[in-house]
Subunit: 128 residues, 2 copies
DNA sequence: CTAATATCAGTAATAGTTACTACTTTTGAA
DNA sequence: TTCAAAAGTAGTAACTATTACTGATATTAG
């Protein structure tokens, strides 16, 4: 894979790094457009996919039908608010041990797991 | 919600019950068509959504972009094979305790979690 | 039996994402 | 430095999974 430099990709990367939430492709598009007014949505998608493939960012799928992206590739868990839909980082240690637990009565090979938590976020639970 | 009886819905329910894997709407459609040759894909989707809403079946989202459906609504975890994409039930106890662990450094309210494991299934790991 | 209404088949519409195409940048070597 | 190969881009078309709409049909309570 022979990467070439691109201002658009830099801008996408930069935007993702300065956000602590986990924007969707569309949100990235809306914001990078402030710097590159005629960047294409296709370019955003292609670069997000590329960056995820080479491990620069990670793609988060929380079952809301939209992919979220995160510049923080260190292993960590996510919380999804059922009320407002926001995706929030959780501070807790990695549960690698559950892979072995799952492998006990299983004929294949378990390499990892994906876990996300759901409920009401701080904002939404104080509101109601 | 005032439900009326429908042969089509029965057939969808029956098909789901006789399958141990976790078919997608399209697979349900293909198979129910053997009994109802001109059932509509829209009907399949509408009934799967309805059945999931009233808790008769459960919708499984494993991040492959397609919804899977399961007539077994008892709480259990799933495994997804990275090779062939099949979704398999795992025999392991519920990890309700991880919700409390996650709640320790979190300001909101954690109501539950979704976990699925990935790797190579029995079939695919013996093949390679 | 019949009227109210849930459900249906068929089809159009939508959302998110990927693919295609002709043009533009980047980059490494001449 | 220049210049062409390769990677990237904007714009747009296409695709996939799903939902919404519409006029006809089936179910069921009274």
């Amino acid at each position: 894979m022979n990467l070439k430099h691109s201002k658009q990709r830099d801008s996408i990367m930069e935007f993702l790094r300065e956000r602590k939430d986990h924007p969707t492709a569309d949100v990235v598009y809306m914001n990078v457009r402030k710097t590159f007014p005629n960047i294409s949505l296709g370019t955003v998608y292609r670069n997000l996919t590329l960056l995820a493939d080479i491990g620069e960012i990670s793609r988060i799928r929380v079952g809301d039908g939209v992919d979220h992206f995160d510049a923080d590739t260190s292993p960590h868990y996510h919380f999804i608010c059922k009320e407002c839909g926001s995706v929030i980082d959780l501070e807790m240690e990695d549960m690698t041990d559950i892979n072995e637990t799952a492998n006990k009565n299983f004929s294949g090979l378990i390499e990892g797991h994906i876990t996300y938590f759901y409920g009401k976020c701080g904002n939404c639970s104080t509101k109601s």
